[in-house]
Symmetry: C2
Subunit: 420 residues, 2 copies
């Protein structure tokens, strides 16, 4: 592909990986796939195939073989042919069970089918190696405590083997959920940044509704970039769209909420691109935040805003944060392969009860500030209580209230409509 | 220090770290230390202080501060001022409990005392940060299963804080166990290699008695190096001398056994240096083998022999190896910061029942070979049964038999002499 691309930052490995078969060769590839041993993917595997196919994980060209998996687990990076390192902190691997391993046998290539059996891709020159789940979990999360959402969803039920190889996707992966138009590939994002004449792109990763504290931070970042001399900084508002844990706000609700934030003028549509980052969520703190940053390099962002406790959550079995909340930004600033990305640490915003708006926290008058956590925000929305004026734009807040109302209605009617 | 050093391979960071106070300043340093808040070290901490003081961990200049600890845990490497990476896979940290943390308070410098209270060192510009034991264990060992020897010895009983800083040791650390003359520092080893005119140094790390299979491998490595054109390859036979698990053969017995191997002519004293590597053992497989290799770079070795399942052991709670036995050599070949070291993979030797000697295993006549594991060897020695002729030189074997006999005598008499 010789597509035009934003020249702000080079993709990892120098070229954006594109693993979608060109239209002219798709029929032949499908015919070939029909005859190959078949491996069935879980929903989360399809999300990873999507991530790989569009080059978010460049220079990776498919599910990891063992030499990539080991580098990822031990060094959070991959050696490039040039001798340098690309960051790669999460194992992007495909697990298969004994039956699938037997079915593949010594075949060099296999077909990958989706959860409903539809053919999705071919994986070439495959390598099958043991899936040591305990070691993978310990080295990725820094704990093996039961109750890690991604582990419960995608690792515990998965097979005891990993199959790596070069991926060729039969056609662009779509979800047909009414949100596909938000799913811009790294190439499409680079094209869009070029079209808008961006001279700086700052990415904001999130998996929660946008409140006015987030907006303050994003607008302030733009102001600082203008002060630094950039003429046209563009914000990539980049909600994560893959697997999330059960109590996170679902993607369609979040996308509607983000739309309202732009409609209500809290963020400027002229200088903001809202798009979906198709990756699943690991909740692996300092290890995962590197992935979040690295993928945005490939999408053309040269500035990355890192929050407090990024990709963190409560410890699943102890009453504490799973990660030290400062480790994410520290690890990000040290990570091999991320040297070319400008890391912008999050300034903490809270509700200023005097100014009656979200404002950057000032320790000197800490008694004036109210911290509204995600849990507290959800509790407000669930109980129908209004947050303080100025916490979130009214249109965005209504989306959340309606969502939690719909849940309660569902919850109330489910037992009555259940059949035994 | 401008000491002469072997030019075969540069120490990590370019210069060998030496943290032992020069003789002229020792009295003043001791006087200063007397007045500082004091931290008491466990025996294993003293071993690490020794390792740090002599520069085995160059460029590290003391127990890790948090920015070094995080790089070690996540990337198994440390960023150098030049922008490059030095390998550093094991956290070299000093744990303190709440009481010690309170005692240190805001003092910039602290004194370190040994287990018996004797002053050993000063730690300067200290930083105290949380010791998240679960995360440290998971990321270092890839498991949190109970029963890891180093964890039980040195982490579980240790405090919930880590204290990092720049180390200054009051005088060279000695053990007065009759083996100190074997404890050559990296500088002393480099000097010795120079003195012998070595043009290649190949290191062999071990924590077990040397049998004729090991000797075959070492002699064969020398032969290969000569074939490659080196004129004077020197073997560094480098048993680990710090903490080992209870069922490993103790250091004094191993040193006596190694002496017999040289006396009996199995290894050539002219081209072999036997010295003690003062590090404690983690049994952390692929993570630890990097440390074993990296420390030998600092000691001037430019070739490193890596075994099957290096630094491995059985899983503490499951009936399997804790690590995939091939991962050690694979990870070593990929590890950031070890590019300049030549890795020589171990060739498997076994007892050839036809030739009646240890020989390299030939898969084509596998039925002729007998594998004698460490466990089997210990069982032979314990039960007084002789291993097959040619397994180990008679002098070396006698050392082991005598050791296990002494254990049994002890075991038999202990109950009778015990007082209640």
């Amino acid at each position: 592909m010789s597509a035009i691309r934003s020249s702000l930052i080079d993709p990892d490995g120098g070229a954006l990986v594109d693993l979608v078969a060109p239209p002219g060769s798709r029929a032949a590839l499908r015919a070939e796939a029909e005859a190959l041993p078949r491996v069935r993917l879980a929903a989360v595997d399809v999300e990873w195939a999507h991530v790989l196919a569009e080059g978010w994980a460049s220079p990776l060209r498919g599910f990891m073989r063992e030499h990539e998996y080991l580098q990822c687990l031990h060094f959070n990076s991959l050696r490039l042919p040039s001798g340098g390192l690309a960051n790669m902190s999460l194992p992007i691997v495909l697990a298969v069970d004994d039956a699938a391993k037997d079915r593949v046998g010594a075949a060099p290539d296999v077909a990958l089918a989706g959860p409903d059996g539809e053919l999705l891709a071919v994986l070439r020159s495959v390598e099958i190696y043991p899936h040591n789940k305990e070691e993978r979990i310990a080295r990725t999360w820094g704990t093996t405590a039961p109750g890690l959402p991604y582990v419960d969803e995608a690792i515990t039920p998965a097979g005891n083997w990993l199959i790596g190889g070069d991926l060729e996707v039969l056609q662009p992966i779509k979800y047909n959920d009414g949100l596909d138009h938000y799913r811009l590939s790294p190439q499409q994002l680079r094209d869009e940044f070029d079209k808008r004449g961006a001279d700086a792109v700052f990415a904001f990763q999130l998996r929660n509704p946008v409140h006015n504290g987030h907006a303050l931070l994003m607008n302030d970042t733009r102001r600082r970039l203008l002060e630094m001399g950039f003429k046209n900084p563009i914000l990539l508002l980049h909600p994560l769209g893959g697997f999330t844990k059960a109590d996170d706000v679902p993607l369609p609700v979040r996308m509607e909420q983000h739309s309202k934030v732009l409609e209500d003028g809290v963020l400027d549509p002229e200088t903001t691109i809202v798009s979906i980052f198709p990756s699943p969520m690991h909740y692996a703190g300092p290890t995962e935040v590197q992935w979040h940053a690295k993928a945005r390099i490939n999408a053309g962002a040269n500035f990355y805003i890192v929050g407090r406790d990024p990709a963190g959550m409560g410890h699943p079995t102890e009453k504490r944060d799973l990660y030290n909340p400062d480790h994410g930004k520290k690890v990000l600033s040290m990570a091999p392969g991320l040297e070319k990305l400008n890391i912008l640490p999050f300034k903490v915003a809270a509700y200023d009860t005097v100014a009656k708006k979200m404002a950057f926290f000032e320790p000197s008058r800490s008694q004036d500030f109210l911290f509204i956590s995600g849990t507290k925000m959800r509790t407000f929305a669930k109980t129908g209580e209004n947050p303080p004026d100025g916490f979130m734009c009214p249109g965005g807040w209504k989306v959340l209230v309606d969502y939690y109302n719909s849940l309660q209605t569902e919850g109330a009617t489910t037992p009555a409509t259940a059949t035994v």
